[in-house]
Point group: D2
C-alpha cells in the first residue's frame, strides 16, 4: 500500500453554480490554490465535501473532477460514506476506477448496531479493496464513537491505515495516539479539528483535515511546519488566529449545522473571489444578506479580503 | 391521489438465503400469509425492511419482488430513506416505475440541519413526484423529531398525505392527532409502535406499522377490528399478549439494535417455518445458539409454534 | 405498612407570595379544592412541588403546612429528592416527623453511577425507614431510567411499594405493568403523564400523578372513575380535553422547562382566583404579559375561567 | 477580593474510615503532601470531593477539617454545588464561616431551566456573598453547558472571578480563553482536564484542577512550571505520562462513573500508603480484589509504588 498521509489534508469544499451543477472553473482554482499553499493531500467527498448530498452519479462526477484537477500533484483521499456495508463497497468500487490514495469510511449508521457490527463492517471493506482505508470517526453524524481498542486492533490486522478523528473527544484522541505509538504507529492519525489542531499535535497527531483549510490553507501549512520544527509558540499563535477565522462557520443566524458551517466556508471563498457562488446543495439554502456581511467582516478583520 | 391507507400495514421483513440473496419463495409465502391475515397494506423498504442496507439495485430488486408477490391485493408503500434530498428523489424515481401506493421518507440525516431544511426537503420531494408521501418520523435513526406544526402545515399544503410515527413520543403523537383532527384530518397517522398500539388508537391513530406484525399479523388485525368496533378490552388484551410476543426482539444477548430486533423477527419466522433462514444483511450476524432458543421459547409459551 | 395508593394523586404546586414566602391561605384553598374534587391522595415536594428549589428548612415548612392543610382527609406522599443517599435519608427523617403515607425518592444524581448504586441506594433507604417508598422514575431530571427488572426485584424484597413513572417511556411502562402483574402486584404504579394517562390506564396503571391535576382535578377524577367502570370512551374524551388544557404549560415564550410548565400551572391557578400570585422560586421568573394572556386564553377556550 | 488563583489546584479527595467517618489523619497527610509538592491552591467539596454525597453537616465538617489542615499555607476554594439557588446560598453561608478564598458553583440542575435562569442564579449568588465566585462548568453532571458569552458578561459585571471548566469541550474552552483575553482577562480559567491539560495550556488556561493531582501532584506542578517557562516538550511529555497514570480511574470492571474514577484515585492513594482505606460514600462500593490489583499494576508500571 502507499505511504500513510501526514500533514495538512483539507476536506475540499465543492463549488456549485447557481443551478447546483459543479463549477469546474472555481474548483480548479481552489485546488491549485490549496496545492500551491503546500498542503500534503486532499480529502474529497468528506462531510464538508457534500458526500451525504451526493448520489452515486454525483460522487463519480466529483471524484473525476478532483482527480483531473489535482493531476497527481498530491495524494487524494475519497470519502465513501454511506449507511451500511454494501452501499459503502459500491462507492469504493467507483473510487477504485480512479487514481486515488485511499478511502475514508465511517461506521455504519441509521440502523442501530454495536461494536461487533462496526468491526465486521471495516473487515468487509478491507476484503473488498486493496486501497488504504481510513476510519472516519464522526459521532456527531454517525452517533457512534469508534473505540480506541477497536481501531488499534483493526490497524494491527492491516484493516485500517489511518483515522480521521472528527469526534471532538480529545481525551480519547490522546489515548488513541498513545496506543498507536505503543503498537508501532500502524495508523496515520489525522485530526478533524479546526480550532484545536495545536492540541492534537501536542497529543501526537500526524496531520489535520480542517474544513477551514479551504479558506486559509497557508496558515495550516505554516502551523504544521512549525510543529515539525518544535516551534510551539508559532503553532499556538497560528491556532489562535485560525480560531478567530473559524467564526465564519459560526456567525450565520439563518442557518445551523452544515448550512452555517460549510455555508460559511463557501461564502468566505465567494467573498475572496475564489468561488463564483456560495450555492449549497438541496435542501440547504445559501447564506444571504446580513449573514454574508458577517462572514465578510470576519475576513476583513483578519486581513483575508 | 389514492385514498389514504388505514389499518394494519406491517413493514415487511426481507427473507435472505444463506448467501444473502433474496429468498423469493419465503417472501411469497410471507406476503400471502400477511394478506390472508387481513392486513390493510404492506410497507416495504422500511427500517425493518433493510432499506439502510440496500444499494440502489437491491432496492429495485426488493420493490419488484414485492409488487410481484402482492399482485395488487393490498396497497404497497415504499420506503425511500436516504441521507439527503437528491438521493431520496433518486429512490422515488425507481419506485415510480412500479405500481405502488405511496412513498415513505424520513427527514434528511447525517449532515446536520434544522427545521427549514426538513421543510424544504419534503417540499422538493413533493415537486418531484405525484405519489402520496408519508413522513417517517424515526428520531432514533435520524436524530431529529418532526414537529407537529410542520407536519400539519405540510399536510395542509398537500405535501404530505400521512405520517409513520416511530418516535416513541406518545405525547407528541397525541398532539399530532388532535391537530390533525382540527385541520380536517389531512393526514393518515400510522403508529410504528408494537407494544403501545392500543395507546396510539386511544390517541386517534389511523393504523399501525408494527414490525412484530410479521410474526403475528392476525393479532394486530384482530386488535384493529376490535378498535373499529369500540371493543377496548379486546384492544388491550391483544396488546398485552403482543407485548409478551415482542420479547422475541429483545432476548438476544449476542446482538443489539437491528440485529436483536429484526434478527429476532427473522428468527421467529424461521422457527415458525415461514422463512428458510434467519440470515441478516452484512455487517449484521444472524442470531444463533441460545439466542435462537430464547426466541423459540417465547413462541412456544405463546402458542406460536 | 399502609395500603398502596391508587387513583388520582396530584403533585401539589406551591403558592408563593410576592416575597416568595409560602402563601398559606392560597395553599389551604387549593388543597381543599383538590380534596373536594375527589382525589385519592396528594404528593407534595415533587418536581412540580419545588423540591429541587427547597432547602432543608423550606422542605420542613412545606410538609408541615401540607399535613396541616390536609388534616388527614387523604394520604400524603412526600418527595425526598436529593443527589445521594445520605442527603435523601436526612429528608426522610424530616418527613417521618409528620403523619404521612410514604416517601418518593429518585435514583441518585449529579455524580455518575450505575445500576448497582441505584439498587444499593434504595436498599439503604429501606433500612432507614418504615415508611412505604415509591421510586420516582424521572430520567429527564435524573438522567437514568430505572430498569423494570430492578424495580420488580426491589418490590419483591419489600424495598419498594410503588413507582411514580415520569419517564415518558410508555413501552417500558407496559413491561413494568406486565411484570408487576406476573409478580402478584407488589407495586402501585402511578403514571406521571398528563397527556397520555389513558394510555397508562390501558397499560394497567394504578393511578396518576398529573401536575395538570392542580388546574383541573375534577377531570382527572372523572377519567379515573370512568376507567374503573370500563368506560373507555369517557377516559379518552376526558384525555383529549386535558391534552388541550395542558397547553397552559407549553405556551410561554419567555420561559422553558420548569418555568414554562409549573409557571403555566401557577399562572392558570392565579387566573382562576385560586392562587394569589403566580410567583416562582429563585432563579425562575414568573410568567408575565403575553404569556399570561396565552394561558388565560386556553382557560377561557376550555371554560375554566 | 483576593487575587485570582492560578496554577495547580487539585480537587481534594476525601479519605474515609471503614465506617465512612472522615479520616483526619490521612487527610492531614494528603494535604501536607499536596502543599509540599508545590500546588497553588486546593479545591474542596468538588465533584471529586464528594460534594454530592455530603449533607449540610458533612459539608461543614469537611470545610472545617480542610481549613484546619491547610492552615493558611495555600488558598482554599470550596464547592457549593446544589440543585438551585437557595440551597447554594445556604452552602455559601456555611463556607463564609471559614477563611477561604472563594466558592465554586454550578448552574442549577435537576429542574429544567434555560440560560436566563443560569444568569439569574449567578447574579443572586453574587448578591449573597463577597467571596470570589468560580463558575463550575460540568455538563456531564449538570446537563447544561455554560455559554462563553454568558461567562464573559458575568465576569465583566463582577459576578464571576473564574471558571472551572470540566466540560471536555476544548473548542468552547478555546473561545472562552480568546474572549477572556479580549475582555482584559477578568476570569481565571482553570481546566478540569486530567489528560489534556497541555492542550488547555496551549489554549491559554490559567491553571488546572485535576483529580489525578491527588495521586501525582508533583507531575502537575512540574508541568505547570514548564508551561510557565515555555518548555512545551516537557509539558507534553509530563502529560503523556499522566495520561497513562490516569488509567487508575478507568480500569475498574466492577464500577463505572464516580465509583471507578474517584474509587480509582482513593485506591491508588491507599496502595501508596497515603490513605488508610479506599472507602467510598454510600451508595458507592469501594474497589476490591482484581480492580485493586489493576490500579496497583499501573502504579507499579509508572514507578509510583
Amino acid at each position: 500500500m502507499s505511504a500513510p498521509i501526514r500533514g495538512v489534508v483539507p476536506p475540499v469544499t465543492v463549488p456549485l453554480l447557481d443551478d447546483r451543477s459543479l463549477d469546474l472553473v472555481s474548483y480548479q482554482r481552489q485546488i491549485d490554490r490549496l496545492i500551491d499553499a503546500g498542503v500534503d493531500g486532499l480529502f474529497i467527498l468528506g462531510s464538508t465535501g457534500e458526500v451525504a448530498f451526493s448520489t452515486v452519479e454525483r460522487r463519480r462526477e466529483i471524484i473525476a473532477a478532483s482527480v483531473d484537477a489535482i493531476a497527481g500533484r498530491v495524494p487524494c483521499l475519497v470519502g465513501v460514506v454511506d449507511t451500511q456495508t454494501d452501499r459503502v463497497i459500491e462507492h469504493i468500487k467507483t473510487a477504485e476506477e480512479f487514481d486515488i490514495a485511499g478511502v475514508v469510511a465511517t461506521a455504519p449508521f441509521y440502523a442501530l448496531g454495536g461494536i461487533p457490527q462496526i468491526e465486521q463492517h471495516f473487515r468487509l471493506l478491507r476484503a473488498a479493496t486493496e486501497l488504504p482505508i481510513y476510519a472516519y470517526d464522526i459521532p456527531v453524524c454517525v452517533h457512534t464513537k469508534l473505540p480506541v481498542d477497536l481501531l488499534i486492533s483493526l490497524a494491527l490486522d492491516g484493516v485500517l491505515q489511518g483515522v480521521k478523528d472528527s469526534s471532538g473527544d480529545d481525551v480519547a484522541f490522546r489515548y488513541l495516539s498513545l496506543a498507536n505509538r505503543r503498537a508501532g504507529k500502524p495508523l496515520s492519525l489525522l485530526t478533524g479539528h479546526e480550532v484545536c489542531v495545536d492540541a492534537a499535535y501536542m497529543a501526537g497527531a500526524d496531520g489535520c483535515v480542517p474544513g477551514l483549510g479551504n479558506v486559509d490553507p497557508d496558515a495550516y501549512v505554516r502551523q504544521w511546519r512549525a510543529y515539525q520544527e518544535g516551534d510551539w509558540e508559532t503553532v499556538r499563535t497560528e491556532q489562535d488566529r485560525l480560531a478567530e477565522l473559524m467564526r465564519v462557520a459560526m456567525v450565520a443566524r439563518s442557518a445551523t449545522g452544515f448550512g452555517a458551517g460549510v455555508g460559511g466556508f463557501k461564502t468566505a471563498l465567494a467573498c475572496m473571489g475564489i468561488f463564483a457562488t456560495n450555492q449549497m446543495p438541496e435542501p440547504v439554502s445559501r447564506l444571504q444578506g446580513e449573514d454574508v456581511q458577517r462572514v465578510e467582516d470576519i475576513l476583513a478583520e483578519l486581513g483575508m479580503v
